[in-house]
């Protein structure tokens, strides 16, 4: 097997993967960046216009609304999803009868197609026929029956909650795998030294889960910046783009309005923001470990 570990052989073995990666990831990113510098309707030749599309973004109120909504969803996800998934993983880590069935149930929303997730939640959140408002009205709490979706303010928060529901089982499974990696003897020796359960949690479990937390935060950031089907089904970005997130707005501009160049400028900014958020978080978490 020595021949396999030769640098030249490794390079050759990587070539097919690199070609696929280049063809399906790098090239489309570069091509969309090129089109972001053009005026293009998707037919005929594109006209090079430099950074005009990016200038237009600065004055496009709908773009800022979509960015604001995306950041609201991100904040809701980070506040609810991360601690929620961690707590769920702690619960799932306790050995109980039927624990495996509970684990499977928790994971179920992650394997449901996002388009179906949207459909399910329409029947829960719709202000007229949705389950929440119907129950509230029947309980005589009609004043709390709000426009969870389709109104002017609450939709991005609702999307954040739907995203949390959809992802919690998946992230909890990753946390659970992280918990299983922590050696038992660390807890045993700390118990012998008199550490309480709370102390074990904050001094052993959380610090030793640092890498897992990092993976989950990156998954949340990248997941939020590509939310599409859920919004499409819940509101289609409406009313009048007020619940648009970056990907749905990009889709609307590109494929409904036929402004491919401008749409690619939004796609480029979305890509860059995802990259920046992930890199900043990774660098901050690295710094906190070094300190």
């Amino acid at each position: 097997m020595i021949w396999l570990s030769k640098r030249r052989t490794i390079f050759f073995m990587l070539i097919p993967t690199l070609i696929v990666y280049l063809g399906y990831i790098i090239m489309p990113v570069l091509i969309s960046f090129y089109y972001s510098l053009t005026e293009y309707t998707g037919i005929g030749a594109a006209r090079f216009i430099g950074l005009d599309n990016f200038n237009r973004l600065l004055n496009d109120s709908l773009f800022w609304i979509s960015l604001k909504n995306t950041l609201i969803v991100l904040a809701v996800a980070l506040l609810l999803l991360l601690p929620g998934a961690f707590l769920l993983a702690l619960l799932l880590n306790v050995k109980v009868k039927g624990g495996n069935a509970v684990k499977a149930l928790n994971f179920a929303p992650s394997i449901v197609a996002p388009i179906l997730v949207g459909l399910i939640w329409v029947f829960i959140l719709d202000p007229q026929m949705g389950m929440i408002n119907v129950i509230l009205t029947k309980l005589g709490l009609g004043q709390f029956a709000l426009s969870w979706i389709g109104g002017k303010t609450l939709t991005p928060y609702s999307i954040g909650i739907v995203f949390t529901w959809q992802m919690i089982g998946f992230l909890a499974t990753i946390f659970l795998a992280g918990l299983k990696m922590i050696p038992r003897d660390v807890y045993e020796s700390s118990s012998m030294d008199g550490a309480s359960k709370v102390q074990q949690m904050f001094r052993i479990t959380i610090p030793m889960m640092n890498e897992t937390v990092k993976i989950n935060v990156i998954l949340i950031i990248t997941g939020v910046f590509k939310i599409f089907e859920t919004v499409l089904l819940l509101t289609n970005g409406g009313p009048n783009h007020l619940s648009e997130v970056m990907v749905t707005y990009m889709y609307n501009v590109t494929f409904t309005s036929g402004e491919y160049g401008y749409g690619m400028a939004i796609a480029t900014v979305t890509f860059l923001l995802t990259l920046i958020f992930s890199l900043v978080y990774m660098s901050l978490s690295r710094k906190s470990i070094e300190e």
Binding site: V122, P127, Q128, N236, F255, S257
Partner: protein, 434 residues
């Protein structure tokens, strides 16, 4: 030896990968012959399930294949937006289907890029087809001296109404805006939706686009596009103020912002709404619903402060059926395309349309069984009603995709209560300026 073997293996993989990445220069229809023998025509439509959603097209294709057994049709379909996106991408790779449905604005651009077949010769060699289609509809798809497409179907839009609900609440079926507003007030007081609409599908603004033509849209649009006039002009503002007035008086569903067009149709066919903003493509669905016997179709209200003739019936060309310019490179395929167009616009084709309760594009000489198809008979009688002028086109079909999208968005912005009428019109002006 092992080393050499691995290098050879890698080289083979590399060649395979490169071959996979290379452009597909093979024609889509490999059995498209250049001489006699079987020919396969690819046809792409704007609905996901052609058999269910466009049964007349499906029926025409079946009948065509029976008549010409040597011509096979490879029929594909995708939801409208997906279909348009797909056609644009295929145009970039030079792999357009032989015949396909397209929106007018991108079809015009494809024609400019030389991607579409000029059907002028076809019309010259088939004078009965040219004579059978409304001349306005034919000229809608002419540009740069070329006939780049022919109308796929007649776009007939307006307001469907359920007479039973009007009778129940003793309200007159509205012919004027004042009557519509009065009806909305009565229906609101009785928890009945006046006009079923769903703003999740922003394209569903047909009746309001028709109303725009009653405020002089076609007198103004050229000046608006050249910058001499604004969308935010006193006439259009009157209409947008009226849409707002209808909203304030509860004419639309309370959850209009989370309803889809299809839910709005269900609302109407389920007897929960007095009117529906849609077109005659819903004829078959309404015919099969519990309200079939009491359903009627109107061209929408007229306006006392409108501009010009108020008796405008929105019966225009919907979108063109076009052919790829490449079919001309293959004589057998070119011949098959001509045969298909000739069949589609023949009386045989029109009969299939009538069987499926769609308004034929050509002047149909057949009859409609009123007892069997009361809703369809009502539509046909509306189409034949004298004294109604037909506009050049539906307003959103004569502007760019971006402006059309904003126009729909602005109408729904007022219906949703998100935009004030002036603001909604300003947004269209901003799009026109871009």
């Amino acid at each position: 030896m092992k080393n050499r073997f691995s290098i050879i293996l890698m080289a083979c993989l590399l060649i395979l990968s490169l071959a996979a990445c290379g452009s597909n220069s093979t024609p889509k229809n490999e059995n498209a012959s250049s001489g006699a023998g079987p020919v396969t025509l690819s046809i792409a439509m704007h609905v996901a399930n052609v058999k269910e959603q466009e049964p007349y097209m499906y029926g025409i294709i079946q009948k065509f294949q029976e008549k010409y057994p040597d011509i096979k049709i490879d029929l594909t379909g995708a939801e409208t937006q997906e279909h348009v996106k797909k056609m644009k991408m295929m145009s970039q790779s030079g792999n357009l289907p032989d015949i396909f449905w397209m929106l007018p604005a991108p079809a015009k651009e494809m024609n400019k890029a030389g991607l579409l077949l000029d059907l002028t010769d076809f019309l010259k060699s088939n004078p009965e087809v040219a004579a059978g289609i409304d001349s306005q509809m034919v000229s809608d798809y002419q540009d740069g001296g070329k006939q780049f497409g022919l109308p796929y179907q007649a776009l007939v839009t307006g307001l469907w109404y359920n007479k039973a609900l009007f009778d129940q609440y003793k309200v007159k079926v509205p012919e004027t805006y004042e009557e519509l507003l009065a009806a909305a007030k009565v229906f609101k007081a009785n928890n009945v939706v006046t006009i079923a609409k769903g703003s999740k599908d922003t394209f569903s603004t047909w009746a309001f686009l028709g109303m725009l033509t009653r405020y002089g849209f076609f007198d103004k649009i050229a000046d608006i596009e050249s910058g001499k006039e604004k969308f935010n002009n006193p006439d259009f503002l009157k209409l947008f103020n009226k849409i707002d007035e209808l909203r304030v008086n509860g004419a639309f569903p309370e959850n209009v912002s989370t309803l889809s067009y299809f839910q709005a149709v269900e609302m109407f066919t389920g007897g929960k709404a007095a009117m529906l903003d849609a077109g005659v493509w819903e004829t078959k669905k309404i015919e099969g619903s519990p309200i079939a016997k009491t359903a009627g179709f109107s061209w929408g209200p007229t306006f006392s402060d409108g501009v010009g003739n108020q008796k405008i019936a929105m019966a225009v060309a919907a979108a063109p059926l076009v052919a790829s310019a490449k079919v001309k490179d293959d004589p057998a395929k070119y011949d098959a395309v001509q045969k298909f167009f000739a069949f589609f616009y023949s009386q045989e084709g029109a009969a299939v349309m009538a069987e499926n309760e769609a308004p034929p594009v050509v002047k149909y000489t057949g009859t409609v069984d009123k007892a069997k198809y009361p809703v369809y008979a009502e539509v046909i009688s509306k189409l034949n009603e004298p004294g109604w002028e037909r506009p050049k086109a539906q307003p959103d079909l004569v502007v760019s995709e971006a402006v059309a999208n904003q126009l729909n968005d602005s109408i729904y912005g007022v219906i949703n209560g998100i935009y004030k009428p002036e603001q909604a019109l300003d947004l269209i002006d901003q799009k026109v300026a871009k």
